[in-house]
Symmetry: C2
Amino acid sequence: MCDHCGFVDYVNPRIVVGVVCTWEGRLLLCRRAIEPRKGFWTIPAGFLEQGETPEGGAVREAAEEARAEVAIDALLGVYSVPRISQVQMIFRGHLLSPNVAAGEESLEVRLATWDEVPWDDLAFPSVVAALRHFGEVRGLLTFPSFRVTLGG
Amino acid sequence: MCDHCGFVDYVNPRIVVGVVCTWEGRLLLCRRAIEPRKGFWTIPAGFLEQGETPEGGAVREAAEEARAEVAIDALLGVYSVPRISQVQMIFRGHLLSPNVAAGEESLEVRLATWDEVPWDDLAFPSVVAALRHFGEVRGLLTFPSFRVTLGG
């Protein structure tokens, strides 16, 4: 939104940051309380804000959406969605405590085992991709970040 | 710039994309024809545009600034500059031919050996970091991307 005249537009590509994070192997998932895709499951993620690092933004999103305290350990993947001019940087991290709770943009949060991930009820293709990629590098301390272009 | 009222502002963080690329081990460097840091050396890099993938933007910048045809092979590093709300994604790539020439934003271009890199005349801290990181992973087919926060 233009602060000057109030007109809303997206002139530049926007950066989304998020994190796949775990507590004792369980994945932190949030059920969206807002559109788009209200009611579907996601990872903590949102638009990078002014003056933030991507890692800092991902930590903030986990705090806002899941009242979670998270430490980042790696860049899991970069998911480009050129149709909507988004670049999503999704990190891998771990929870510093199992104390999580729904923030304002979440209906509920949960710590899901791998077998409990609701694959058919995930909010966005990038969430599916990031969780799959998380599974592929589980047990690896370091790995090359995934790079994927998504159509959706 | 707001297309509606013409007001210029930078509300969102901006994405810079660029590439460290080589021909037979020689690094493609460009001497800047524009401010900031006119006359100093850099790698092809610039703002990601609407509807581009980061990789596509880096290839475009190499074409514009050095008339170079480049293929991307890895994400070298993510350099955050929160003070100016920039996230720089620098790739590693290789030239598809040694035919390079100064584009409109370059005074000259060169293919420099490692020993010829003008370290004291590089344009930006992120260029220094990306070239150093390129040297650290030379010979490695895959590697975890570097992640650095820069103050400048």
